[in-house]
């Protein structure tokens, strides 16, 4: 049956309320089971040996002493993970990142792993592995890596996207370009131009739960993997591909997940755990330490961005351009390209050009971090916009409104926009009481807008109506922040039954069809669509069952308010049948009642946001305090408003940490100096005020309830909003993220000196 995903306006009964989440009690009592909370009988403990060098050729690895240590059951190196990638470059990058094959490419790169009867033995075994490294020169800075004298990470990489094709290898792996119009002509027309360069340092998603899994390979070729992940189906595919397992024979169960934000959409050590288990013939538990998480999972890019914007006296932008250099780690990917796509996405521009350059550096392999690549680009562009507004003498919000993208605008990354919410969020920001609140000494106010795509993808749900009329909803998107509550609301809404009668669970890979990951703000968006479809299918079944029970033709039965009704007058005054009543008779009307849905949720919209913040800076110490913060974002339709607010607040908090304090610090030796929460400083409770949120609802025309994905956008504006606020507070333009106390003091003293 085809499913109509078009938006239909309606009055909601369940959607939009704030009931308690079904997994709440387990999580407040410590009963919920996360990645490290699972054990299998006979399991071994794994530990990974990691390169202490930023760049080194691995000449040899001798594992004999480690393998013969009492209590060690398996030792693996790249030799135990044959290359089955068949020319797929991105899969090969994953393989090499899981276990270095020829070169260690960063401090922390895995080179060997052991499985032993306990952690003590495993750690002792690591010390017995002899690795002969030939240390090579390294480069860790995104700009230094582009210089001709920089050490080349990979002699087979020649910059793609450049004509004519270069003949010398480079650390710039790819050049991409977007835009339309004629920027030279546009800049020539401008009355005012702002041109500036910006830098942002590398940050980590900072989830509190380290990566953890238990892997079990059986001699018959089947395998089980318990793992904290954002995408158990994707992990199943990747692990099968890398280990040569049949997909149907690997059963992946996702534990509850203690944060992901994109960092758990990729495998890091799971294939290694499976390889160890296969070799040892026993289950293997592998938990990364916090230092390993920082050194060897997937932080985001460090960037270096040049922006130029020109406008007329009236504020109309005549041309905008940006060149974005993003670090990728050791393997080429598309991070700068994403930044180039999103840079000017908020604006309706006649002439725009963005160029993205992917830069290889001796740092861990970059992974997605909540609206990947967008926050840095937005920082640069929104900072320049702020300066432009000041130069023209125009209000910062008014400048945005003047140039804002609307339905029908051509986006800077190509397609024309449908209905979007950026205009309304700007208008709401202008009208918000925060904008007119008084500021005190040493305080500055900044605002910025941001945007992120969201997408649909492959989604399945099973909706089973139990004999007592309650509903079991099995979904395949991992619940990272409360989506089981939202999906239960959706099922309740569509079926017309109370929320309390729906129980949502996340299935494993053996018990449900393929589901794409929980990323791209798609969890609630796409699974709600599949849930509505499954519910409608179940309603069809129940309609026919009611017809049987009444012994009337099915065409004469319609569904309304959670009940089957007999249409017309000729069937007498039959009382409507509830789900419960129909379910009670299911055994005699055809068996269990269910609705399924396998669909591709496509045509997802985009979600725009505007943030306002007030920062107070102490000019003597350079320390800054967030005094007030407001998030205004379009959710299309907020299914469970408390969890939508939670996404807004959480994304803002991550952005605040990124803007003010978080960065990867490398030494001259190319080693990460701060792989821990003491010196990698994320926001703590006393750093932040209450974070005010305003949810706008401009329905997404491609979702039955108008839902838009919201999880990521909120991390996009904070870097710029804070940079704009601090710049006002100290009177100096801040161009280097994080805007930590030393940088503020340096900017203040430079300014005094000049």
């Amino acid at each position: 049956m085809s499913f109509d995903s078009a938006y239909q306006s309606r009055k909601f009964n369940s959607v939009g309320t704030r009931p308690l989440r079904p997994d709440g009690v387990d999580k407040v009592t410590g009963r919920a089971r996360y990645g490290a909370d699972f054990n299998m009988p006979g399991q071994l403990v794994a530990r990974v040996l990691r390169s202490p060098h930023a760049h080194a050729r691995i000449k040899s690895i001798d594992t004999t002493r480690a393998a013969s240590l009492k209590g060690v059951k398996a030792v693996v190196t790249a030799a135990d993970l044959p290359d089955l990638t068949d020319g797929d470059a991105s899969l090969f990058a994953i393989l090499d990142n899981c276990m270095a094959r020829t070169k260690a490419m960063y401090d922390g790169h895995a080179v060997a792993a052991v499985a032993a009867i306990d952690e003590k033995t495993a750690k002792a075994a690591l010390k017995l592995i002899a690795v002969d490294y030939e240390v090579l020169p390294h480069v860790v800075d995104v700009d230094e890596a582009t210089r001709p004298e920089a050490p080349v990470l990979n002699e087979t990489v020649f910059t793609q996207g450049v004509e004519p094709a270069p003949t010398t290898p480079s650390n710039v792996a790819n050049r991409s370009e977007f835009g339309h119009g004629d920027i030279a002509a546009g800049f020539a027309q401008a009355d005012v131009i702002v041109e500036r360069s910006y830098k942002t340092e590398q940050t980590h998603q900072g989830y509190i739960e380290p990566h953890a899994c238990v892997a079990n390979c059986s001699p018959d070729g089947t395998a089980d993997l318990w793992v904290c992940t954002q995408g158990h189906f994707v992990f199943r595919q990747t692990c099968s591909d890398l280990l040569g397992l049949e997909v149907s024979k690997l059963r992946v169960t996702s534990s509850e997940i203690g944060g992901g934000f994109g960092g758990k959409t990729h495998v890091w050590a799971e294939p290694v755990a499976l390889a160890l288990s296969r070799k040892a013939g026993r289950p293997v538990k592998l938990v990364m330490s916090r230092a390993e998480v920082f050194r060897a999972s997937g932080p985001t890019s460090a960037t270096s961005i040049d922006v130029k914007i020109g406008a007329g006296k009236d504020g109309t932008i005549t041309a905008a351009s940006a060149t974005l250099r993003y670090s990728n780690g050791p393997y080429a990917d598309m991070w700068a390209e994403l930044g180039a796509m999103t840079s000017f996405a908020c604006y309706d521009l006649e002439n725009v050009k963005t160029v993205g350059l992917e830069v290889l550096v001796n740092r861990p392999k970059v992974a997605a971090y909540r609206a990947p690549s967008a926050p840095m680009a937005a920082f640069a562009v929104e900072s320049a916009m702020d300066e432009l507004a000041a130069k023209i003498g125009m209000d910062a919000v008014d400048l945005r409104i003047k140039n804002v993208a609307k339905e029908g605008s051509r986006s800077s990354y190509g397609p024309v926009y449908g209905p979007i919410g950026i205009g309304p969020t700007l208008e709401a920001a202008k009208a918000h009481p925060h904008m007119s609140a008084p500021l005190r000494k040493n305080q500055g106010r900044g605002m910025a807008c941001g945007f992120w795509f969201n997408f649909g993808g492959q989604t399945c749900t099973d909706l089973n109506v139990n004999a007592d009329g309650t509903v079991s909803l099995a979904v395949g998107t991992v619940d990272v922040g409360g989506s089981r509550a939202s999906l239960s609301l959706i099922a309740a809404e569509e079926l017309g039954i109370p929320y309390e009668d729906v129980k949502a669970v996340v299935s494993d890979t053996a018990t449900l069809g393929y589901n794409d990951m929980t990323d791209g703000s798609r969890g609630t968006f796409s699974t709600s669509m599949a849930t509505i479809s499954a519910a409608r299918n179940a309603i069809e079944v129940m309609r026919k069952r009611a017809a049987l029970m009444w012994e009337i033709p099915p065409e004469d039965v319609y569904w309304e308010d959670g009940h089957a009704h007999a249409a017309g007058t000729r069937h007498g005054n039959r009382a409507p049948l509830s789900v419960k009543e129909i379910a009670a008779e299911a055994a005699n009307t055809g068996g269990p009642v269910a609705g399924h849905s396998e669909l591709v949720a496509d045509g997802a919209g985009v979600s725009f946001a505007t943030h306002i913040c007030d920062i107070e800076v102490d000019p003597e110490t350079g320390s800054s305090r967030v005094v007030r913060y407001t998030v205004i974002q379009d959710a299309g339709k907020a299914v469970h408003p408390a969890y939508v607010e939670g996404q807004y607040q959480g994304g803002a908090a991550q952005g605040i940490g990124w803007a003010l304090n978080e960065e990867y610090i490398y030494g001259e030796d190319g080693r990460l100096q701060n792989p821990g929460f003491l010196d990698y400083r994320i926001p703590v409770c006393s750093d932040l005020p209450m974070i005010d949120t305003q949810i706008l609802e401009i329905p997404n025309p491609n979702h039955p309830y108008g839902v838009r994905g919201v999880g990521e956008t909120s991390i996009v504006p904070p870097l710029a909003a804070i940079a704009n606020a601090v710049s006002k507070a100290v009177g100096v333009r801040m161009t280097h993220i994080p805007i930590s106390p030393p940088r503020i003091l340096a900017a203040l003293s430079d300014d005094k000196g000049s």
């Binding site: 959409t265 598309m334 990947p372 190509g414 990323d519």
Partner: protein, 81 residues
């Protein structure tokens, strides 16, 4: 008949053209014909491509119909976090 705009990374694989004319009524037909005409596009189409039809982005639904004179673009598939 639709005019398909290719994102910059694909153009070298399609004889450096930015816009290509293709006779196609669905996304599936469009992608098949593009891959037939330019074999270099086959791999990107398999793993990296999304199709924007009049501004709405489709990643997976290749049965989606292409209205006559629709604005069609091939853009990069975007990862999320």
């Amino acid at each position: 008949m639709v005019d398909v705009t290719l994102w910059s990374g694909l153009r070298p694989l399609a004889d450096h053209q930015e816009v290509v004319h293709v006779e196609a009524r669905t996304i599936r037909e469009l992608l098949r014909k593009l891959a037939e005409r330019y074999p270099g596009l086959r791999d990107p189409i398999r793993g990296q491509v999304a199709v924007a039809v009049d501004g709405v982005i489709f990643r997976d639904d290749w049965s989606q119909e292409l209205p006559e004179d629709a604005e069609v673009m091939l853009i990069r598939r975007i990862p999320g976090g």
